[in-house]
């Protein structure tokens, strides 16, 4: 059992302040890059399948099955192919982000009320115009909620990616494990874990701001 006291933690934090910030920056970057890629792929898939019953259900159930695969298993499978570090981390995070984004895009597009679509056609808008000026903006709050879920999910999974030398705060968590028994083990693991929580909460708060500026006031 390792003891804990505030003083050693304070010393630990002051000494490694820069290091922690850098890891947090990496963690943020890998999450944003991955969710960004997943957003592009996910919305594109959503746009392609939302009105085709069979492809729609195939894509959503495939993404749902993908999400159940334990992240350590996927990361391990990817590392022989993509090596260690950023490569497998980004691919795995994109992989897990797809379900919430695809599903919410499909739900959002489908939930646009029929009378609105009929009115849009009734004033002489073509299919593509209806999709981009009506359906996507109206579905955006739901798509954004999917992105938010994806971000929460990937912040946690990125911590495990540190095992395959992925970037971010997970490195501190694993350093805690590998130095089990030493006086700094707890400080490493605690700092890593709490920083991930703080990062997740800050990102969640950022979504409130994004929602404020990107969702039409008429939809709130």
């Amino acid at each position: 059992m390792t003891g804990f006291d505030w003083d050693t933690l304070a010393v630990f934090l002051t000494r490694r302040y820069d290091d922690i910030l850098e890891l947090a920056g990496e963690h943020l970057t890998v999450v944003l890059i991955s969710v960004g890629i997943a957003l592009i792929i996910g919305v594109a898939v959503g746009l392609l399948v939302w009105d085709k019953p069979i492809t729609r259900s195939v894509s959503i159930s495939t993404a749902a099955v993908m999400l159940t695969i334990p992240s350590l298993a996927l990361l391990a499978l990817l590392s022989p192919l993509l090596g260690l570090g950023w490569g497998p981390s980004v691919v795995a995070l994109v992989f897990y982000s797809l379900l919430p984004i695809v599903r919410n895009t499909v739900v959002g597009l489908r939930e646009v009320p029929v009378p609105i679509l009929e009115s849009a056609r009734g004033v002489g808008m073509g299919r593509v115009r209806v999709l981009f000026t009506m359906q996507l903006p109206i579905a955006w709050p739901i798509i954004l909620a999917g992105v938010r879920t994806a971000v929460q999910l990937t912040v946690g999974i990125a911590a495990i990616a540190a095992y395959v030398a992925g970037p971010g705060l997970g490195q501190y968590i694993f350093k805690g494990l590998s130095s089990l028994g030493s006086k700094n083990a707890l400080n490493y693991a605690l700092t890593g874990t709490v920083s991930v929580v703080i990062l997740a909460l800050l990102l969640d708060a950022a979504f409130l701001i994004i929602a404020r500026y990107t969702i039409s006031r008429g939809l709130k």
Partner: protein, 264 residues
């Protein structure tokens, strides 16, 4: 003209015109698809591994005894944790919604949100550092980690029950306990079960990282494979754990459908 025609057909489908004539076999195919895919992947893995010349390190892990006991460890951990979670989190969720204190409910939801933001690997490793390594620690962290989705879904499930239905049940003279057992819980059951299913899948994943704290399971194979650069070992471990996750999710989905009250 053809573009316009298809446009009209799409609108008609939405507007209650002719229904889409999808294949009748489709629901059955969709239902068994995950099992089929898992079977094919497992078979392919087995074929591939059988064709290899295994060295002594690989032989030590790639044999039936070793694999079966890892699977056992993994399943025992997962299932025990899930049962504990069901027993603890569902009553807690019911209690939280019965509480008249808004503060209490808000606190529970707040803790649940922070909990969701906590990385599983962090919980597992922290517990191991401050307490001990091994099965019990893994079990406790699994329960702690899966507790939240079930708690939240129980609360959400009970809260989404139409208040007019509860009111008419009360109006017929049911006691609060009867309303809960006969009306609210059955109506909330799909959401509660969805929470349990999520917890179960979580547990399979978290049980994988239990290997880091010497709690066994299929994570052992993955980590050994990585450390010792033995790709076949890694692959078998990863494929098996993925297969278990998919199958457990699939089974839970079946149960969910069977238990769902008729008419919902």
């Amino acid at each position: 003209m053809s573009v316009v025609e298809s446009e009209t057909v799409a609108l008609n489908t939405v507007g209650g015109g002719p229904r889409n004539q999808g294949s009748r076999a489709w629901p059955a195919i969709r239902r068994f698809m995950p099992v089929l895919v898992v079977a094919v992947v497992l078979f392919a893995t087995w074929l591939w591994v059988s064709s290899l010349q295994l060295d002594s390190i690989e032989q030590r892990t790639l044999n039936a005894d070793y694999i079966v006991s890892r699977i056992q460890e993994h399943l025992v951990l997962t299932v025990t944790a899930s049962i504990l979670v069901a027993v603890l989190a569902i009553p807690a969720g019911i209690a939280a919604t019965r509480s008249r204190s808004r503060m209490f409910t808000a606190t529970v939801v707040g803790i649940a949100n922070v909990g969701q933001a906590t990385p599983a690997i962090g919980v597992v490793i922290l517990l191991a550092i401050v307490w001990q390594t091994g099965f019990t620690t893994a079990l406790v962290s699994l329960v702690a980690y899966s507790f939240l989705p079930v708690l939240r879904n129980t609360m959400a499930g009970l809260e989404q029950v139409d208040s007019t239905i509860v009111e008419s049940a009360r109006g017929m003279g049911m006691t609060p306990g009867q309303v809960l057992r006969r009306v609210e819980l059955p109506l909330a059951s799909p959401v509660i079960l969805a929470g349990l299913r999520t917890a179960l899948v979580f547990a399979v994943g978290v049980a994988t990282v239990a290997t880091f704290i010497n709690a066994g399971g299929l994570g052992d194979m993955i980590i050994n494979g990585l450390k010792l650069q033995r790709f076949p070992v890694l692959l078998v471990g990863a494929v098996l754990v993925a297969a278990i996750a998919v199958l457990i999710d699939w089974l839970a989905g079946l149960v969910e459908e069977m238990v769902r009250p008729r008419g919902m």
